[in-house]
Symmetry: C2
Subunit: 177 residues, 2 copies
DNA sequence: GAATTATGTCAGTACTATTGACGTAATTTC
DNA sequence: GAAATTACGTCAATAGTACTGACATAATTC
């Protein structure tokens, strides 16, 4: 290790900076921010024997009650097989219920139960607290600035997924169309 | 599924909104933004048979050449055993070299090779492009606003990790102390 | 010399994800 | 009405990333 194998390259001792105009500062901040953002709910989930995947399913079923399995797969960008176990556990533990689709009886509409809604709220609470604190601490007067930036980080063709949600939350009106 | 088990809760048909003042909008945007932010390098990594863990190691070794294994574990917040395989692969493929610590010969200082630096840059390039586009598209005039917000999202006790990096990248001077 | 530290490694396990294949029921198409 | 397609569920096998616990080695510190 002091003397690496002959073919090995020589160690580069200078820190990578903004070579080629790469924005390492924000890249790294994004990593740290997301790492800690997910750490809060992770602790709660562990008590239930759940993981991050359960959180995501629970979140979207609460945000869009009645969405079908296919729609959920599309939002999460995972495969049916990956969802199966997680969804089954959430149904078995009475956090989510399936209802046969009214128009198309092959479809399964997913709804949260009171228990599922309570857990979704409990998971979101520390995340929301962190966001509020971050907005205050960073002196961000325009909360919409952050919203617009994050939305612009999403692949354009996937931004439609965001707009599905009723925009009761924010002052923005991107919900009613 | 139409008729759930007797003990099961009833489906809640209203979307979760800002009940209890929870900021679901930004929570969800953060999820989408990070999902797509990581998707760019993931594609490149797949060509090498690497995963996201390799990217993180490569990134920090390039950002802080000469950091020790212990320091890397602290930044990544994973265990020695989790790092082992990933680091070994990066060393075997000549992306990273280990150098015996000059003061303490037990330590292994980690440095990128030219190959490792090139890969780190290739991985960061699409991410940086996405960030630049997002700043422009969202009309964020003050780039520092985003930086401050993301930094404020990080656990206070862990913000020291950010400041280690020489601040050549941004106009901010939080590097020299 | 003994204790501690930094690192490496082995064994076993868990969670999340993948691909491929197959089955069933419902809907659509011809 | 038969055939094709669609929505969903499930089985099997595999991969990547993480975990805990245990143990070994070399170097440093006490």
């Amino acid at each position: 290790m002091t003397d690496p194998s002959p073919a090995a390259g020589k160690p580069i001792r200078t820190a990578i900076a903004d070579e080629d105009g790469i924005d390492f500062a924000i890249i790294e901040l994004f990593f740290f921010a997301y790492r800690d953002f997910t750490s809060d709910p992770d602790q709660i989930l562990a008590e239930y024997g759940f993981g991050r995947a359960h959180h995501r399913v629970l979140h979207f079923v609460n945000r869009r009650p009645g969405l079908t399995v296919a729609e959920l797969l599309d939002v999460l960008k995972i495969t049916k097989q990956s969802l199966a176990r997680v969804l089954k556990q959430l149904i078995d533990t009475d956090h989510i219920v399936q209802v046969q689709g009214p128009r198309d009886r092959r479809q399964r509409e997913l709804y949260p139960t009171a228990k599922g809604r309570a857990l979704a709220l409990a998971l979101a609470r520390p995340q929301s607290r962190r966001i509020r604190a971050a907005l205050e601490d960073s002196g961000t007067t325009e909360r919409a600035t952050i919203e617009r930036f994050l939305e612009a980080m999403v692949n354009p063709e996937l931004r439609a997924q965001i707009d599905i949600v009723p925009a009761q939350t924010s002052g923005k009106n991107h919900g009613d169309h």
